[in-house]
Amino acid sequence: MAAAVPIVDYLVLGDDPHLVAKECTSCGARFFDRRNACASCSGTEFSDARVATEGELTAYTIVAFAAPGVPVPFVAGVVDCDGTSVRGNVINVEPDPEHVKLGMKVKLATYVVGTDDEGTEAIGFGFEPIER
């Protein structure tokens, strides 16, 4: 099996793929990027917090026109994962307003983004509709 790396360092791969946020130990604010301090309370200590893998789509757009090299159309959105907002694409869905709905329930899913010259796969994530 090919070696795999996550597309970003806050995606944890394995049998149970999930996102991990840096959570401020003083105020609980969550962030996904490398931190110098907390934007909410200026605290400097953070712990890793697992982000729920299911959530609700609270905003979206269907991008039809993007920078060269970015395949279109795709659905970009914000998912409320049990109180933590996550930016991501809505995947495994027809990219049209008949199939993508505000408030729809979605869950984290991973897929292969690409392979580098050493055969390592980059694994991306998105959110797919939860079948009811």
Partner: protein, 405 residues
């Protein structure tokens, strides 16, 4: 009582394509126009604040001085995303307010015709591709289009859709947002300085090229060239000037600049709401007026989806009631609170650094009773709003001079 600050002279160039003029030409045209409108010269100006976002390192202020007057005054070159023009104006206001001088000049200019899509794209990779984590997210490849979108039409599309999720709307979102664009394109037909002055039907807008649902091309701000400039003066200096200058002067009742305070999710999708609400609240307090007193509003409709949320953020409507407010016709030029009678960024155009002064020019034009065919009759109070992602928000409230006819 602190000394009031006034707009003594203000102008904007025609927005659109100016292939034969560079940024310095456009800035000069606007600056000389504002000085002439004010009835003063560069010799009277004690501070210059200049904004040009796309070439922020080029020192547009000093380049401008070399064309219209090198008088040795302090120059502040400012860059603050789409709020650059408002920031330049506010810089000049602060200098006058601080008593460092009694007259200041603010200029904003941008060459943006044909710039295309702003905000998207990734870092080009070297020939040999080996995944290595880079940047603050440890990304091994470009994330634009894979983890959401960086393009402006897509970001602001989500801003509008998020509003309709928080405040559920029964109708079709696409239709609602397209109708906002229909209004602004209709308004633009009366503005000879707008980049586009063609009235568009709802169907034409909806059937145009889709950029990022629900924003089609005419629902996006138009990239174009343009400049705007303003001369500001202290109240005590104004009293020494001619009656005609005093009559045409417009009072700056509030000048506010905010950045976004931390909110959950504000680093996930830019929160353009909280800082606008803060700025509006501060501005109403400073000016001692309320949203119901406004005769016209120029707000930052960089996309049709953005205009809707700012009705609410600027407290023009009931909380959560932006869609109903718009559908009531309130924001058309014959409505209760005319919004973007200039045509807005969607048709007037959005030469980034010029926008935050051009919006104020539009308000002043009406308060002075000089807006011709598109004059809002009897306008006494107006509000101008801009927002730049990152974020920065400028709100100015302007009032007609008591001496005005």
């Amino acid at each position: 009582m602190a000394d009031d600050i006034w707009i003594l002279g203000i102008t904007m160039t025609k927005f659109g394509k100016h292939p034969d003029k560079d940024a310095v030409d456009l800035a000069s045209e606007a600056a000389l126009g504002a000085l002439a409108d004010a009835g003063v010269t560069m010799r009277d100006i004690g501070v210059l604040a200049a904004g040009n976002l796309m070439e922020a390192a080029a020192g547009i202020g000093q380049q401008l001085q070399k064309q219209i007057g090198q008088t040795g005054i302090p120059v502040y070159n400012v860059a603050n995303a789409c709020a650059t023009g408002a920031t330049a104006l506010r810089t000049a206001i602060m200098a006058v307010k601080a008593g460092e001088c009694d007259m200041g000049l603010a200029v904003g200019v941008e060459k943006l015709a044909g710039a295309g899509l702003l905000g998207g794209g990734g870092t080009p990779k070297s020939d040999k591709k080996v995944f290595e984590p880079r940047g603050r997210f440890g990304a091994v490849t470009s994330t634009d289009g894979r983890i959401g979108t960086n393009t402006m039409p897509g970001v602001f599309a989500q801003v509008g859709m998020q509003y309709l999720h928080k405040h559920p709307y029964e109708g079709e979102p696409f239709d609602l947002f397209a109708r906002i664009s229909e209004k602004n394109h209709a308004h633009s037909t009366l503005n000879p300085l707008a980049a586009y002055t063609k009235r568009m039907t709802l169907d034409e807008i909806k059937n145009d090229v889709m950029i990022a649902y629900p924003n089609t091309r005419p629902m996006c701000s138009a990239n174009c060239d343009g400049a705007a400039a303003a001369v500001v003066v202290s109240g005590s200096k104004l009293k020494t000037l001619s009656l005609e200058q005093q009559r045409r002067a417009v009072k700056i009742s509030a000048s506010v600049l905010t950045s976004d305070p931390w909110q959950e999710a504000c680093q996930v999708l830019p929160d353009v709401n909280t800082l606008t609400r803060l700025a509006a609240r501060q501005a109403y307090e400073q000016a001692g007026v309320g949203p119901e007193d406004l005769d016209l509003v120029e707000l930052h409709d960089c996309f049709a989806t953005a205009e809707l949320v700012h009705y609410d953020n600027l407290e023009l409507c009931e909380p959560g009631g932006a869609a109903d407010f718009f559908l009531s016709g309130a924001t058309w030029r014959d409505g209760k609170t005319p919004v973007n009678v200039s045509g807005g960024l969607q048709s007037k155009g959005h030469p980034i650094a010029a926008t935050g002064i051009a919006n104020i020019w539009e308000i002043c034009h009406h308060l002075r009773g000089e807006a011709g065919d598109r004059q809002i009759e009897g306008a006494k109070v107006g509000l101008a709003h801009v927002i730049g992602l990152g974020s920065a928000c400028g709100v100015h409230i302007l009032e007609r001079s008591g001496l005005a006819a």
